[in-house]
């Protein structure tokens, strides 16, 4: 469902993504992990058509991201980490705008918007401008906007940001159900526990290149660690976590 072929992005002298080749199959929840600045968001931006690769190419839902970007965008839903929204619009108006851009029939769009807002507990606030929403409420709108056209592929960049425990629980269950419906989910997060629990396969990217790939158990096993968290730290950590914590304590004592 998602395939990249030597995908590369270069900013001046910095190679943000180095010839990335990966495959995400239909129905997979693919966890894409990496420390800050590893190239995760750049990869997602290239796959969603927000930026162009310097080299290489990729296909999403069977369409080439360079040759058929609009066809790709018809088939994807995206929750951005940046949380960008037109904040002077109300929640309802924003979702209506996105539905119109996806050619959703008015009645169907209204029904879906109503359902999403009700499910996320935002029905009472539907007429409030987004600038008045809390971080979690905005995130719910972003998730609703990504799902409104029922896309077969979802790109989720830190989708649980700001969600309350109940909403996060519902959302995680929803992802599992989507996977059962053969939707493909490209999931980026720093919360390793969540990734470990819901992702069927994981890749770790560091300095623009994939350094590990497989299930969380495979990755832990291949690094000789007990958990994904420890494996991640070993693969990407510059320093030992315990040593760093000790240094902090010493700094406070000085």
């Amino acid at each position: 469902m998602i395939q990249t072929f030597a995908l590369k992005k270069q900013y001046d002298t910095k190679e943000a993504v180095k010839e990335l080749s990966l495959t995400v199959r239909e129905g997979e929840i693919f966890g894409f992990l990496g420390p800050n600045g590893a190239g995760k968001s750049t990869t997602v931006k290239m796959l969603t058509g927000m930026i162009f690769p310097t080299n290489g190419t990729a296909t999403v839902a069977g369409f080439d991201i360079l040759k058929d970007p609009v066809e790709v965008k018809r088939r994807i839903g995206y929750v951005p980490e940046s949380g960008a929204l037109f904040e002077t619009l109300t929640g309802w108006e924003y979702l209506q705008l996105i539905a119109d851009l996806h050619h959703l029939e008015r009645a169907m769009a209204s029904k879906r918007i109503e359902e999403f807002l009700t499910l996320f507990g935002l029905w009472e606030e539907k007429g409030m401008r987004l600038q008045q929403y809390s971080k979690g409420m905005k995130q719910k709108i972003l998730i609703s906007a990504a799902l409104i056209h029922n896309p077969p592929v979802l790109f989720l960049d830190e989708p649980l940001n700001g969600l309350d425990a109940n909403a996060a629980l519902v959302f995680k269950e929803l992802l599992k159900k989507f996977s059962q419906q053969n939707k493909t989910i490209f999931f980026t997060s720093h919360i390793l526990d969540v990734v470990e629990k819901i992702c069927t396969r994981i890749a770790i990217i560091n300095e623009g290149a994939i350094i590990a790939e497989g299930t969380s158990a495979d990755i832990a096993h291949s690094t000789g660690q007990k958990s994904l968290e420890e494996a991640f730290s070993k693969l990407t950590g510059v320093r030992d976590a315990r040593e760093s914590a000790q240094d902090f304590l010493e700094a406070l004592g000085s």
Partner: protein
């Protein structure tokens, strides 16, 4: 029919409609003249665009005054110049909301919107927006040209040629200006950081608000002074000004065109035809992307000098004084709204001075009172009272009031923080402002000593005023949400009461205090004691209030 046309040019009609509706919605919620704080807009202003157009229309009626100039070439030169400045500034300031915004890229680039659909929707909206604004600003004059002789000669004479020429000039000139601004903006952005340009444009916004509100008062004076003094034969240099190319159309329609006028009109039409394709090539989703990428790259280098700012205030003894001084300084440096609220006093003072001095009476001199000039100077005293009111309001209310949590969770002395705020406002803003006015007074009073003495009294009175402002409602710096309704009420009351109180006070000073050194010194001592007493009272009051104050975020 429309759908077929759009399909023919490769534009998705449904998306175009959605994007147009979206653009109107955004414009109706925030435009230049009605730019609202987030707190206010949460309450739902949905008619900002229409309100702007209404203000432009009133301005358009003010421009009719130029029709009193007999030669249509000259009158239209003034009218079109005014419209050009308005539309040009509007395009520059509102480039992000009308044309291409970096935010568009984040949201639309992942939607199935083709670059062509995005471009056509943006272009359509820009054209409609500019046409509506130009119509509001220019149609009253265009219609006036149709009846120009009727107005001047008091006889009914419809002049269709002049009407058509005026309409053509208005359309071509407003679109030429709009398109030139798109070119200028995109060109400047190649060399200047987007955020810095936005900040610079906020000053232009200030000047423009001043022009609009001041224009109502200034234009009649300008028309009065220049009305009949313009030459029949146009000097050569006037054709170097682009607006004259379009005024030439009226010169031709009026039957008074020489060869130069005809050539100028021709150049105008050519320029209009050339600038449009150049400008439209700049409006694309790709351009929004480059704006957005530029913005992200610039964010990393944004605040580099905060360490320097820290050292500026190290001499202060109390940590609360340092905190407030640093906060005020940084807000002034980086928060455009706060900076504009402070600097807004400059055009207001300049306008009130202009209004006061335009009658030729000079400024009211309390040491040598001329009662004719007193009424003219009243407006200046409104500005003097308005300034502490404005800055107190702006320094306690902010869009980022939620950040004031730090005052509530730290062991800082809140009473001291409020007093430090009042002190900072007095020392950093009020006193420098009054010193500048002191220099102006010294020119009009023809005595540096008198100007200095008057400034000292005004400083003491302003300090008392600041204390009075903090007394009923002491607030921590930037700790409350902005509420524009409240602000307008406060400013309204100030504008009505201030001249009565302060001018009354100045009359009293003039009659009883400024007569000799003894009475003057006594007044200074009494005012200083009042300030001291008020400070004690204020401290007690703030201490009591701070025990109950809660975080508003």
């Amino acid at each position: 029919m429309a759908q077929k046309f759009f399909e023919l040019i490769g534009v998705d009609f449904v998306q175009w409609k959605a994007l147009m509706k979206h653009s109107f919605r955004l414009a109706n919620r925030q435009t230049l003249l009605t730019s609202t704080s987030s707190h206010q807009s949460q309450k739902g202003i949905n008619y900002a665009l229409y309100l702007s157009l209404f203000l432009y229309l009133i301005f358009g009626f003010v421009l009719i005054g130029f029709l009193r100039i007999p030669n249509p070439f000259w009158s239209s030169l003034f009218i079109l110049s005014s419209i050009g400045v308005m539309i040009g500034s509007m395009m520059l300031i509102e480039f992000g909301s009308i044309i291409v915004a970096p935010e568009d890229y984040h949201i639309f680039s992942v939607q199935p919107v083709s670059s062509r659909t995005y471009f056509v929707s943006k272009m359509s909206f820009t054209l409609i927006y500019v046409s509506l604004s130009a119509a509001a600003l220019g149609l009253p004059s265009v219609i006036g040209y149709g009846y120009a002789n009727h107005i001047r000669l008091k006889e009914f004479a419809v002049e269709p040629a002049l009407f058509v020429a005026a309409l053509a000039a208005l359309v071509m000139w407003s679109l030429t200006i709009a398109m030139s601004m798109i070119l200028l903006y995109t060109y400047v952005l190649r060399y200047v950081n987007y955020r810095r340009l936005k900040n610079a444009l906020s000053y232009l916004q200030l000047v423009m608000s001043f022009m609009i509100y001041g224009g109502y008062m200034i234009f009649p004076v300008v028309i009065e002074k220049t009305g009949g003094a313009l030459p029949v034969i146009k000097p050569w240099w006037v054709f170097l000004i682009p607006v004259s190319w379009y005024s030439s159309l009226l010169g031709i329609a009026n039957g008074s065109a020489d060869a130069a006028t005809i050539v100028a009109a021709f150049v105008g039409v050519l320029f209009f035809a050339g600038v449009i394709p150049l400008a439209v090539s700049k409006i694309s989703l790709g351009y929004a992307q480059s704006l957005s990428e530029g913005l992200s790259a610039q964010e990393e280098t944004k605040f580099t000098s905060s360490r320097e700012a820290t050292s500026h205030f190290d001499f202060m003894k109390h940590p609360e004084d340092r905190v407030v001084a640093k906060l005020i300084w940084n807000q002034f440096k980086y928060d455009t709204k706060f900076r504009l609220a402070v600097m807004g006093i400059i055009p207001i003072t300049a306008l009130y001075l202009f209004m006061g001095l335009s009658k030729g009476e000079g400024l009211f001199n309390p040491f040598n009172p001329s009662w004719e000039s007193m009424g003219q100077s009243a407006l200046l005293y409104v500005a003097i009272v308005l300034f502490p009111v404005m800055i107190k309001e702006s320094a306690t209310k902010s869009d980022s009031y939620v950040a004031s949590w730090m005052f509530f969770v730290s062991p800082a002395n809140k009473t001291r923080l409020v007093l430090s705020l009042k002190k900072a406002l007095l020392y950093y803003f009020v006193i420098p402002y009054l010193l500048i006015l002191g220099v102006i007074f010294s020119y009009y009073f023809r005595s540096v000593l008198h100007a200095a003495m008057h400034a000292v009294i005004l400083v003491l009175l302003s300090q008392l005023l600041l204390q009075l402002l903090f007394l009923p409602n002491p607030q921590l710096p930037f700790s409350a949400p902005r509420n524009v309704g409240e602000r307008i009420t406060l400013l309204g009351i100030t504008v009505i009461i201030a001249p009565i109180l302060l001018l009354g006070g100045v009359v009293l000073l003039s009659l009883f205090v400024y007569q000799n050194a003894g009475t003057y010194l006594t007044a200074v001592v009494i005012l200083a004691i009042m300030v001291w007493f008020m400070e004690k009272l204020l401290k007690k009051r703030i201490s009591r209030k701070m025990e109950q104050i809660e975080f508003l975020g």
